[in-house]
């Protein structure tokens, strides 16, 4: 669900796109600087350099969801927190295909599973230190994980994979105990450098979870609950400078106790990191172009107004990257409301994908999606198309045939739910409404506030049934770049919830569920990838999800930013590699 980053700007985005604009060239330097190319950073390192020093300046529209590694789900937040919070595992820090491979961070070697993937053993390196010079132990990591997942609900932003998979009573609360880890046995720490995770089910992709910021060590004595976010104790190359003002600014200084020898994934080139919080998107874009900023922290690309301008300005294009955002934009076809699979397939056939793609942003907004798994995920086959049509304009004859098959030859009526604050979601719904109308499927559009879209409306089973909500516009990004990390939450029957339901189509197909479970018992990633491809096909046969667009972001890359490349696991530039090359 990390892609909520994209939509979060919300009303802010819908309406605060204004400021900005620019008088002159958007390049921030003369044409002489343009020795880079359009989209170069999408699959290679731009401006490689080992130059250290200087200040790297970030700004963001909106805010961190939390600087506490326990309590965050935004991709940019996961990317950024690595400056001060090391994790057990990490993604390979390089551009291109191998970027989604796992490498060690604090771990000394790859995690060791038992035969059925229910127990994992992780050894951590010796000599890891906090910012005060004290040693990081396996116990601290265990505590970090425990407080992030078993806390009486105070940290609700972060993912709950440990809560879901660790063999531990869900009511456990670290804040209820004087000795916070008393009775917390799902993670064992036989010595100061070993962790043993006991899971209640088989989970072959568990090492991916160990890349998440919740595996950062937290000293028990320093834990201040929700307030820890203001005084995080660093394990990485940078530490808080003590003047963090939530909602305003965060500055990081070098952590002298971090040892680069122990750290395979961080370059740590700048001397100082500065973040301005709550700057409007257009202002961020404008200042990136004028050289007053180095990186847009949000990592979801420039705002719509700037994007329109950048992509039409030839002198700016060498400084623009246009990679996949990693997210799929799609329409849920709610199985409890449109029960007959043939009726759902009629919708798949009748939809004008070309029109929806245009609504979503056309050429630079992304690619037309005809399958479920986004292109950079192993097993994805963007060529597969179960509902082909001329120019992607829809196959009305096939749709009519399907309608007859489900006994609704004159079409039927239904309602599509859409997040009011998301302009492009609304346009997508309008486009679908228009194209389904061609076969007599009469769609009315209902807008709901983004904040309770899943809590009370599209993601509430009762609401969907009571109000005959047959369709909803949605988007999804991977928690980690595999088929399971991407699609299990939106297609596995076990993921269906009463409210806050992200398997919004409520697909509960025994075959699909079985394959997900089987994948978690399969060790070989390639074998898993094949299974995920099959699941992809099955979900589309069920016509539970209508893929619309594989989203693309438009990033602006200033000329004096070094080591810039797009990392597919975070779906933005790899912050850990970045440096600046300028006279200060």
């Amino acid at each position: 669900m990390r892609n909520r980053t994209l939509g979060f700007v919300a009303l802010g985005a819908a309406a605060s796109l204004f400021l900005s604009a620019c008088g002159g060239s958007a390049t921030g330097g003369g044409p002489a600087d343009a020795d880079t190319e359009f989209d170069q950073g999408s699959d290679s390192i731009v401006n490689p350099s080992e130059q250290s020093g200087g200040t790297l300046r970030y700004a963001i529209d909106g805010d961190f969801d939390s600087t506490d590694p326990a309590n965050t789900y935004y991709a940019f937040n996961w990317n950024f927190s690595r400056y001060y919070a090391r994790t057990l595992m990490a993604f390979n820090p390089e551009p291109g295909e191998n970027a989604t491979d796992l490498v060690t961070d604090m771990a000394a070697e790859m995690p060791e599973p038992n035969d059925d993937f229910t127990q994992w053993t992780v050894k951590i390196q010796e000599g890891l230190k906090y910012e005060d010079g004290s040693e990081i132990t396996s116990e601290d990591i265990k505590y970090g994980i425990a407080r992030a997942n078993f806390n009486g609900g105070i940290f609700s932003e972060g993912p709950q994979y440990f809560a879901a998979h660790l063999d531990q009573d869900g009511d456990y609360n670290v804040y209820d105990h004087d000795d916070p880890l008393e009775g917390f046995d799902a993670i064992e720490t036989p010595d100061e450098h070993t962790l043993v995770f006991n899971l209640k089910d088989s989970f072959s992709e568990f090492p991916n979870v160990l890349t998440q910021p919740q595996t950062a060590p937290v000293p028990v004595d320093a834990d201040r609950g929700e307030l820890y976010q203001q005084t995080v104790v660093s394990s990485g190359p940078y530490k808080f400078d003590g003047e963090y003002e939530p909602g305003v600014k965060l500055h990081l200084d070098r952590n002298e106790h971090w040892d680069p020898e122990t750290d395979p994934i961080r370059e740590a080139l700048p001397d100082r990191i500065e973040v301005e919080i709550g700057v409007s998107q257009d202002e961020v874009d404008e200042r990136l172009a004028s050289g007053e900023l180095d990186v847009d922290l949000r990592g979801s690309g420039v705002g719509p107004a700037t994007k329109t301008r950048l992509l039409s300005d030839e002198s700016a294009r060498p400084f623009v990257d246009n990679p996949y955002s990693g997210a799929l934009r799609y329409v849920n076809i709610h199985t409890p409301v449109i029960e007959d699979v043939a009726c759902r397939q009629a919708i798949m056939y009748a939809a004008d994908r070309d029109s929806m793609w245009r609504a979503w942003g056309g050429d630079d907004g992304g690619d037309i999606a005809t399958n479920l798994l986004p292109p950079l995920i192993p097993g994805a086959d963007p060529e597969s198309d179960l509902y082909p049509s001329q120019d992607n304009k829809g196959d009305l004859d096939a749709a009519q045939a399907k309608l007859e098959e489900c006994g609704e030859e004159d079409g039927f009526s239904t309602t599509i739910a859409v997040r009011a604050e998301s302009e492009r979601d609304v346009l997508t719904a309008e486009s679908l409404q228009e194209s389904l109308g061609r076969v007599g499927i009469d769609v009315s559009i209902e807008q709901f506030p983004q904040a309770d879209f899943f809590g009370q409306y599209a993601g509430s089973q009762d609401y969907v049934r009571d109000n005959g909500i047959g369709l909803s516009v949605s988007g999804w990004g991977p928690d980690w770049p595999t088929g399971y990390g991407f699609a299990s939450k939106i297609t596995h029957g076990d993921a269906i919830m009463e409210t806050g339901n992200f398997n919004t189509s409520e697909l509960d197909d025994p075959e699909v569920n079985g394959m997900w479970d089987e994948a978690l018992l399969t060790e070989d990633p390639d074998e898993r990838a094949e299974m995920y491809a099959d699941i992809d096909t099955l979900v589309l046969e069920n016509a539970a999800i209508m893929p619309v667009v594989f989203d693309k972001s438009t990033f602006y890359r200033p000329a004096d930013l070094t080591n810039v490349y797009y990392h597919p696991a975070y779906m933005m530039y790899d912050f850990m590699a970045l440096g600046v090359d300028r006279d200060e």
Binding site: M1, R4, A10, L11, G12, A15, S16, L17, F18, L19, S20, A21, C22, G23, D63, S66, Y73, R147, N151, G153, I154, S156, E157, G158, P159, Q160, A163, A164, D171, Y175, D223, R224, G225, E226, L227, Y228, Q229, E245, P246, G247, V248, G278, V279, S280, E283, E286, R287, S290, E421, P449, Q450, A451, D452, G455, Q456, S460, K489, T499, G500, F502
Partner: protein
């Protein structure tokens, strides 16, 4: 006089109490009437992928399962006497007037509002100076030169001013004045204390946009008032006494005209400070209005409540100031009994 002030103060406080109660009712009670359960409400604050356990905990932590009356009393008690908040194993004192902590970001609401207040103050007060000075000046000239070309043009412009929404003028101004013609700099807010010149440059366009909307009304009001007073006997007397025209206009004719102006001004400033939502939105200013929008999008109840109350406080204060200024501006107004 003291009695008068006390009575107005009392009325203001009563008014704030009612505003608080009504706001609370609308945001806490109305959804329940409409069938939203405490868990449904909790789902809004329980992050991005809440498990049932997290939902339960959120309901309990935010007190959403308690009777609404209890929640309201709790809110008032927090506001008036402060409150201790527990975070993990730590307890933090939030001193009165405490507006509580945001449901979504766990940051103190009052502090967040105060952080953004300078932006809103800059916008509102700066624009007010322009619209009052501009509007009244134009109104006076129009009244004195009634029927002249200036009068007609000014009153025509005034009517256009009232009829133009700020999100249209603002958008046009940004598009043409800033982007197409480069007459104004691309701006970002800088505090006055850091860079007065930069502050002025950034705020000028928002000021002018907002002031254009309001100045019109002041010009019309001033003109109408002046025309009325200029016909009064005492003006004739003043003229007959041989006072200079300037003195007649500014000393005798203008002063009574200012009373209704002051009334509107009080309302306008109060409203603008309570969150100039549209202007802040159009010009991407991160002020109280922008904070309000963010909180509404996130359904962050303590923040919505806090911002509303804060806005109402401003309206009350401004009205109070206006009431106190009446006797100063217009000696005919008597206060007290």
């Amino acid at each position: 006089m003291l009695n008068y002030i006390l009575r107005r103060l009392g009325a203001g406080i009563l008014l704030l109490a009612v505003v608080t109660a009504v706001t609370f009712w609308i945001f806490y009670v109305l959804p329940r009437w409409a069938g939203v359960t405490p868990h449904g409400m909790a789902a809004m604050y329980a992050g991005k992928a809440p498990t049932p356990a997290v939902l339960d905990a959120t309901v309990e932590r935010l007190g959403l399962d308690q009777p609404v009356a209890v929640q309201f009393i709790e809110f008032l008690r927090t506001l008036l006497f402060g409150q201790e908040f527990t975070f993990g194993r730590e307890t933090v004192e939030c001193a009165a007037p405490c507006l509580g902590y945001s449901f979504t970001t766990n940051t103190p609401v009052l502090e967040q509002i105060l952080n953004r207040l300078p932006v809103t103050l800059s916008l509102g007060l700066g624009a007010a100076v322009i619209w009052v000075v501009g509007g009244v000046t134009v109104g006076v000239i129009s009244a004195v030169k009634r029927g002249s070309v200036f009068d007609r043009l000014a009153m025509g412009a005034a009517l256009i001013g009232v009829s133009l929404p700020v999100y249209f003028t603002g958008l046009l101004a940004l598009s043409f004045l800033v982007h197409q013609w480069g007459l104004f700099p691309v701006s970002r807010y800088v505090p006055f204390t850091e860079d007065p010149v930069g502050w002025y440059q950034v705020m000028l366009l928002p000021w002018l946009t907002l002031a254009f909307l309001h100045a019109a009304q002041y010009a019309r009001q001033t003109r109408a008032g002046m025309l009325e007073t200029l016909n009064e006997d005492y003006i004739r007397t003043a003229r007959a006494k041989g006072l200079s025209e300037r003195k007649v206009i500014f000393k005798h004719a203008l002063r009574p005209t200012l009373t209704p102006i002051l009334t509107i001004l009080g309302l306008d400033i109060g409203m603008v400070l309570g969150g100039a939502i549209l202007t802040e939105t159009v010009f991407s200013l991160n002020g109280v209005g922008a904070y309000a929008i963010t909180s509404i999008v996130a359904k962050d109840l303590p923040v919505i409540l806090g911002v509303t109350l804060f806005g109402a406080v401003f309206i009350v204060i401004c009205n109070l100031v206006v009431d106190l200024l009446y006797p100063v501006v217009d000696p005919r107004v008597r206060v007290g009994r």
